[in-house]
């Protein structure tokens, strides 16, 4: 590429380069600016938020907004619930997806083709919101956290990608284990899974982010506001602008109405940002191997 650079050092080319670099910088800034503003604002006082429309460094640094949301029982509860549901949900969904993907990767398995077609048809067509709701209701899962986990236990796209991964798995290794007398479950548990750690980690992230961000399932299945996840509380605070969403312990205390919106967005974004470097790496790969064929 450097030869190319030398070859092409014409003036219009350089002008284009400069414009291009500036344009992309603008694109990057436009993407990041809302976050920078939200983070800065979450540390600012209410009066500053009211006075200045935009800033990236607060004049007076305060933790008032965080102090307020972290004393809110509703907030702490929703955080604990969301972390719990994400942790358990990810484990359950990984279990369902990997146990199904492994047998489906065995080309000699009778009924494999039929099962794969069942999976693919479920990608194309679904019962829809209401019939699924009625099934969840019929199972007595309304207002339970299982309703946020089980209906999404297997993402068919993930299942097919993992199946394709297992299809490329070393047959010799499994054969040698079989000669040593290991059962299929033994092979799966002791040989295949330990060697699949990177792909397990990748899909753990896929599922964890999906559960953390899930808005529709809690909206549909949780009526009891004491069971709300962070996404529902986030809507109540930032979109519905409900000043009492987080509760008010002291009638004389005026909560930081603007600051708490910013702070709660920061908190909800934080875990995503923490795993973002891994996400970027793995999701990009996942997207590219994401063929349904095989």
């Amino acid at each position: 590429m450097s030869d190319m650079h030398k070859l092409h050092n014409t003036k219009p080319g350089r002008v284009f380069d400069v414009i291009n670099i500036i344009f992309l910088a603008v694109a990057a800034i436009v993407t990041l600016l809302p976050f920078i503003y939200v983070v800065a604002g979450s540390f600012a006082t209410e009066s500053e938020l009211a006075r200045r429309a935009f800033f990236i460094i607060p004049e007076t640094f305060t933790l008032e907004a965080y102090r307020y949301i972290f004393t809110s029982e509703a907030f702490i509860r929703s955080i604990v619930i969301t972390i719990g549901v994400t942790a358990v949900g990810t484990a359950v969904q990984l279990f369902f997806t990997f146990t199904m993907a492994y047998p489906l990767a065995k080309r000699s398995l009778r009924g494999r083709k039929l099962l794969i077609n069942i999976v693919i048809f479920a990608m194309l067509f679904s019962g829809g919101m209401i019939p699924t709701f009625l099934v969840v209701q019929g199972l007595g899962l309304i207002d339970t956290y299982w309703a946020l986990i089980l209906p999404n236990a297997i993402n068919p796209f993930n299942l097919i990608i993992i199946k394709n991964f297992f299809q490329n798995f070393s047959v010799e290794l499994e054969e040698s284990a079989k000669i040593d007398g290991a059962s299929e479950i033994g092979i799966f548990w002791r040989i295949v899974l330990p060697l699949s750690k990177p792909i397990i980690a990748t899909f753990a992230l896929f599922y964890a982010v999906a559960i953390w961000n899930d808005f529709m399932s809690p909206l549909l299945y949780l009526n009891d506001s004491s069971k709300w996840t962070l996404q529902l509380l986030l809507r109540q605070v930032t979109i519905s602008s409900d000043p009492n969403a987080l509760g008010n312990l002291d009638p004389d205390y005026v909560p930081p109405a603007e600051g708490m919106k910013l702070a709660i967005i920061v908190i909800a974004t934080l875990p995503i940002m923490t795993v973002y470097p891994f996400l970027q790496k793995h999701f990009a790969k996942g997207l590219l191997i994401g063929s349904v064929k095989g």
Binding site: T10, F16, G128, I185, F215, Q231, I272
Partner: protein, 320 residues
């Protein structure tokens, strides 16, 4: 039976009965079948049972009667829906949003990918990519929450900026004519960066020699983009466009639902949010299931048709 055992001793592969084949299969693969149990149960309960539940679209579902006992009404709910003013309004709203995103949000990542491809400093390219992928991972709740902060009529940055520049105070979040632009804007902000990945992947396959040869031949920057870069992603663009067309009725629930309020409802309602409002909020299960079924059936027809076209365009592509 006798014939079978005779053949068995002959070592000629015996013609087994179906039951025997099953038995042998089971002995060989029983643990694999055991592993399949949770997955199969999942698909039966959470994917296929709801498909069975679709029959309530043709019944008057009453919860205490259950699905089987509720009375059949044939296509009543469908005719009611198609003859109600809601139908055309929903269809119009949905198609408007899809049309605008195909016109604006679809080309944006192509444009950005081409620009990124022209960057010579690998580190800078990587930095820009890292920034612009971020919004993809955020929930719509966060994106809409951010929108409410920035576009708030009470001191939102953008409202203030627009007022300073144009002298107008616009309530972007409440005025119906601003609903669609806001949806598209959010879509562009959230999806453009991530959307570049598939095009950049296609561009990674172009050998640098092609560009070098073009330079030797005296081709300028724009001619190289026109004759090398764009042809290299043409196939991907066509496929992506066709697949996007297959999804015109799926506008995404979360974003529209969260952006809807009492002031913009007339332009905001789309099929998915309508099903929620009528079905879950008002409890018209059968009617809303009929609406959802209409959307799913049209959706599956569109996807299969566009997939068929995609395969005609390029044999390697297509979903299945």
């Amino acid at each position: 039976m006798k014939a079978l055992s005779l053949q068995g001793t002959n070592k000629q592969l015996p013609k087994k009965t179906f039951v025997e084949t099953l038995k042998q299969m089971w002995l060989r693969d029983k643990w694999l079948y055991v592993l399949l149990i949770p997955g199969i149960l999942y698909f039966l309960v959470f994917r296929y049972a709801p498909m069975y539940g679709i029959i309530i679209a043709f019944k008057n579902y009453v919860p205490y009667l259950g699905i089987t006992e509720s009375i059949w009404v044939g296509f009543d709910h469908f005719t009611a829906f198609f003859s109600s003013p809601d139908f055309l309004r929903l269809l119009g709203n949905t198609l408007w949003i899809s049309f605008l995103s195909i016109a604006i949000a679809f080309p944006a990542p192509i444009f950005l990918a081409v620009l990124l491809n022209e960057v010579r400093f690998a580190l800078y390219k990587k930095f820009v990519q890292t920034c612009i992928y971020i919004p993809h991972f955020l929930s719509w709740t966060i994106v809409v929450g951010l929108t409410h902060l920035l576009f708030s009529i009470n001191g939102g940055v953008i409202v203030e900026m627009v007022e300073t520049i144009f002298g107008m105070r616009i309530n972007f979040l409440a005025e119906p004519e601003w609903f669609r632009p806001m949806i598209i804007l959010q879509g562009v902000w959230k999806g453009t960066g991530w959307g570049t990945i598939i095009f950049l992947a296609a561009l990674a396959n172009v050998s640098p020699e092609q560009y070098e040869a073009a330079i030797v031949d005296g081709a300028g920057r724009f001619r190289r983009v026109w004759h090398i870069t764009l042809p290299a992603i043409r196939g991907t663009v066509v496929i992506m466009l066709i697949l996007t067309m297959g999804n015109v009725l799926s506008t995404g629930f979360d974003q529209i639902f969260l952006m809807t309020n009492s002031l913009n409802r007339s332009v905001a309602d789309v099929f998915d949010t309508y099903v929620y409002n009528v079905g879950i909020t008002r409890g018209s299960y059968s009617y809303s299931t009929a609406v959802g079924l209409f959307k799913s059936v049209v959706g599956i027809i569109l996807i299969l048709t566009t997939d068929f076209i995609a395969k005609k365009v390029d044999k390697e592509s297509g979903l299945f």
